[in-house]
């Protein structure tokens, strides 16, 4: 054996190690650039009856907050809604909604039909705040710690599994 003839073997060993690590990573898992960063500071007007709306400074007032971005036109939001209702019933966490590019009447009808898990809801008519939050597909759910920093982000509908295995541990860790 010479070093030259062993070069392909050495390169392959490196490749195999990378492939092995890669098997246990989820290529669909997208990290948020905002994790551990302070939440964006824009405010939103309230959905009628859900005052005071989205007040960014409230996020840094010591309690852990869940921020959920949703819309009445969004199918997956309906799928995750029972999980949000359950979470609200457990009173573990303050829940804030951002109503994304929706109409007022549709949003209210959605809540009337399926129940209302939110303590307050801000209306993001233009999607401007969602852009600040790095939202690219709703529903998305964030956990904000008492200092107003984003500690967790979930893209897509929350399943019971997501709530039990990811969301609740993140809430506990944030407290």
């Amino acid at each position: 054996m010479t070093l030259r003839s062993a070069i392909p073997l050495l390169l392959f060993i490196m490749l195999a190690a990378a492939l092995f690590t890669g098997l246990y990573l989820d290529p669909r898992l997208i990290p948020s650039a905002l994790i551990d960063k302070p939440a964006p500071t824009l405010d939103l007007p309230p959905l009628p009856g859900k005052e005071p709306g989205f007040i960014a400074t409230d996020l840094a007032k010591g309690s852990v907050t869940l921020v959920n971005v949703w819309a009445s036109w969004c199918g997956p939001c309906r799928i995750e809604h029972p999980q949000l209702m359950q979470l609200a019933a457990s009173k573990k966490i303050r829940m804030v909604g951002i109503n994304h590019k929706d109409t007022e009447s549709n949003a209210l009808k959605f809540l009337a039909d399926l129940g209302d898990p939110y303590d307050t809801i801000g209306v993001d008519k233009t999607g401007r705040v969602s852009i600040e939050w790095g939202v690219y597909g709703i529903p998305e759910t964030f956990i904000i710690n008492g200092q107003g920093r984003i500690v967790f982000k979930h893209v897509g509908p929350l399943t019971q599994f997501d709530v039990d295995e990811k969301l609740l541990p993140a809430i506990e860790a944030a407290k």
Binding site: S5, P8, L19, G22, L25, P27, L29
Partner: protein, 671 residues
């Protein structure tokens, strides 16, 4: 695990446990002949042939049983229930056999067995020990894949009680182009296992010579032809089924089939050097190992979901771990063998920088580098992800590939016409260039024409047109030179044409095909006209020289889908030509929407229409004129045809195992 499968299958006699039986047979074929070859025991070695035939017989039976189950919608088989449906047309019931993970693996091993049996059948002129070792290595690969099938993906897994109907096949896959795409791809992938087995056998024996190269070449060529057709079919499918007019996306799964193609193309050319000049041996062996390794890696990428891709139809880490373990064993093992034995493979010395062999080495460098570039781009996201512990996600898109791949291909293509005209040992560069003066003249003319007609269209595109014409001109020059066209009486020309080896005709066809493909790629990329608009019935839009009149859209019902069908009347200069009826289909099981573009290919370009969702009283439509689009696939088919013609060469069929002597000036292999 194997036990459980034996039990399951034996209690339902309609699906005999033939994979388990094949597995035992493969184990025997993998070990006994190898020991026989080491001990020089003819009795043990002679087991290889019958075992290879037996394996094939068993696997044909297994495949037939699975096909029977699909055709008759027997949902007591898990894989049928998961992937088929009673309402599916017969063609897709059959294609459904390999349209899923388990069935496609069975097809993989079946094809492997076909190649193994072919060696047993046609390998009579091989030395007995080499034949035994080759078949033994083939069987080792079969053992790995059969074990994988048995442990993680048994197609004969039962589902009792069975459901009344199945889940259906992914509608994107219900397409004639894709129905036959995987078999061709697999014939290519698996075909390279032959070159691999020959390489391993040669490493074990420590002997690589011209005879060895001559045995390997037809197998490599056959695999290459299949893979060329397979890759072309895949891109054709993407072109008309995905509905955006794109035909190559540098998607990981596309790259997975393209990398073995690049390496296999290099192998095809380097084996010529081994055959004719008895040198470049360890490199050729390494290429044979790498080509098949890339084929295995291709299987790994598609079947494990290690990279996300629009093609990821099967994703399952358990399967991934097994395939990776198998990869490490096969590739790692053969590279260890290579590391130990390669230094002993001494070639026939140096050669002149201007010669046929030097041009083939350059070809190999450029192809190998291009392959490495694609490899890096495909796996880089994985490396970054792995090194950062899952923190950094990134994707490598077409800009990377276009920026790295094209500059590597350009010199390769520019030099391509020179190689076949070059003499072995010492070439005459000024002489070769002088002979190519007509090709060069036509290329310059074509560039001027393109510059003028396309109103100074992109400089690179004009260059691409010149390159394509240069390649075609080069192939024609080669042919003209060989038959003394314009320089000898017709009788002499005819006699010379018959005297030129088919392998050389094959090379000219294939190289000309590359030129046609370059023209197609250039024109369709640079000068496509695209109109995306909302149209009401009666609206007219112009793309290229064609006017598309939208006459309306309606709902229609297909055998297992419903569709929105739009109607366009196409005319040119006021003269009605044809009508196009694209569809937007909705499949209920599994729920999915697909676009069926209406495409009318002409020699000058493709007319391409897509209908989208209605918006009020209008429909969103996309209409294209894509110049020279079908030349891409015509070029690819010509390349494959070249391979077939070359394969019919007498030298390959006879495969006389003697060392080649210096070539006479006429009968120069040119592939």
């Amino acid at each position: 695990m194997t036990m459980r499968i034996c039990m399951v299958t034996s209690s339902y006699p309609r699906y005999p446990g033939d994979i388990a039986g094949t597995f035992i047979l493969a184990l025997a074929q993998a070990s006994v002949p190898m020991v026989g070859a080491a001990r020089n025991d003819a009795r043990l070695m002679s087991l290889a042939g019958p075992a290879a035939f037996g394996q094939l017989a068993f696997l044909v039976l297994a495949f037939a049983a699975l096909t029977y189950a699909f055709v008759n919608s027997d949902f007591s088989l898990l894989v049928v229930a998961n992937n088929s449906h009673t309402a599916k047309p017969l063609l897709y019931k059959i294609a459904g056999v390999w349209g899923n993970h388990e069935g496609s693996l069975l097809l993989w091993v079946l094809i492997l067995a076909v190649f193994g049996a072919a060696v047993a059948l046609f390998g009579g002129n091989l030395p007995m020990a080499l034949r035994a070792r080759v078949l033994s290595v083939q069987a080792m690969i079969a053992v790995g894949f059969l074990l994988f099938t048995l442990l993680t993906s048994n197609p004969f897994e039962r589902l009792i009680p069975s459901p009344p109907d199945g889940n259906g096949l992914n509608p994107l896959l219900q397409d004639p182009g894709l129905a036959f795409h995987p078999p061709f791809l697999y014939l290519g992938y698996v075909g390279f296992s032959m070159a691999f087995s020959f390489a391993i056998a040669a490493l074990i024996e420590g002997k690589v010579d011209a005879a060895w190269a001559r045995w390997v070449r037809p197998w490599t060529l056959a695999a290459w032809v299949f893979l060329t057709i397979g890759v072309a079919m895949g891109s054709w499918w993407a072109y008309y089924e995905l509905g955006w007019g794109g035909w190559w996306f540098w998607d990981p799964v596309e790259n997975a089939s393209f990398m073995p193609w690049l390496a296999g193309t290099a192998l095809l050319h380097s084996a010529i050097v081994v055959e004719r000049r008895d040198t470049l041996k360890s490199w050729t062996i390494l290429l044979a190992i790498l080509t098949f390794s890339l084929s295995l890696l291709g299987t790994f990428i598609v079947r494990s979901g290690v990279l996300t891709s629009v093609h990821a139809f099967a994703t399952d880490p358990a399967r991934g771990v097994f395939i990776l373990g198998f990869l490490v064993l096969v590739i790692g093992g053969s590279l260890i063998l290579y590391a130990v034995r390669a230094p002993g493979l001494k070639g026939g010395g140096l050669f002149a920088p201007i010669s046929r062999e030097a041009s083939l080495v350059l070809n190999n460098w450029l192809l190998a580098t291009a392959c490495a570039t694609v490899f890096l781009g495909t796996l880089y996201p994985l490396f970054v992800d792995a090194l950062s512990g899952g923190e950094t996600k990134l994707t490598v898109g077409p800009p990377y590939f276009n920026m790295t791949f094209a500059p590597l291909m350009t010199p390769l293509l520019m030099l391509m016409p020179l190689g076949p005209l070059m003499a072995w040992k010492r070439g005459d560069l000024p002489g070769v260039l002088a002979r190519l003066k007509f090709a060069l003249g036509f290329a310059v003319l074509a560039m001027l024409l393109a510059w003028y007609v396309m109103q100074r269209g992109p400089v690179l595109a004009v260059f691409g047109i010149g390159l394509g014409v240069w390649l075609i001109g080069g192939a024609l020059t080669d042919a003209a030179e060989r038959i003394k066209l314009f320089r000898a009486p017709l009788g002499v020309i005819w006699a010379r044409a018959k005297g030129v080896p088919r392998a050389s005709w094959g090379a000219m066809l294939a190289h000309g095909g590359v030129g046609i493909m370059v023209l197609g790629i250039t024109a369709s990329t640079a000068w496509t006209e695209e109109k995306i608009t909302l149209m009401r019935p009666g609206d007219q839009v112009r793309a290229g020289a064609y006017d598309y009149l939208f006459t309306g859209a309606e709902q229609v019902a297909g055998p297992n889908y419903s569709a929105l069908r739009g109607h366009f009347e196409v005319s040119r200069d006021g003269k009605p030509l044809l009508s196009l009826s694209p569809e937007a289909r909705t499949y209920p099981t599994p729920p999915m929407d697909t676009t069926e573009a209406a495409i009318y290919p002409t020699l000058g370009g493709d007319l391409f229409a897509v209908i989208g969702a209605p918006q009020g009283d209008a429909w969103s439509t996309r209409l294209y004129f894509r110049p020279l689009q079908s030349w891409i696939w015509a070029g690819a088919l010509l390349m494959a045809l070249g391979g077939i013609v070359s394969l019919s060469d007498r030298r390959h069929r006879v495969g006389a195992p003697h060392r080649a002597v210096a070539a006479s000036p006429i009968i120069q292999a040119a592939e």
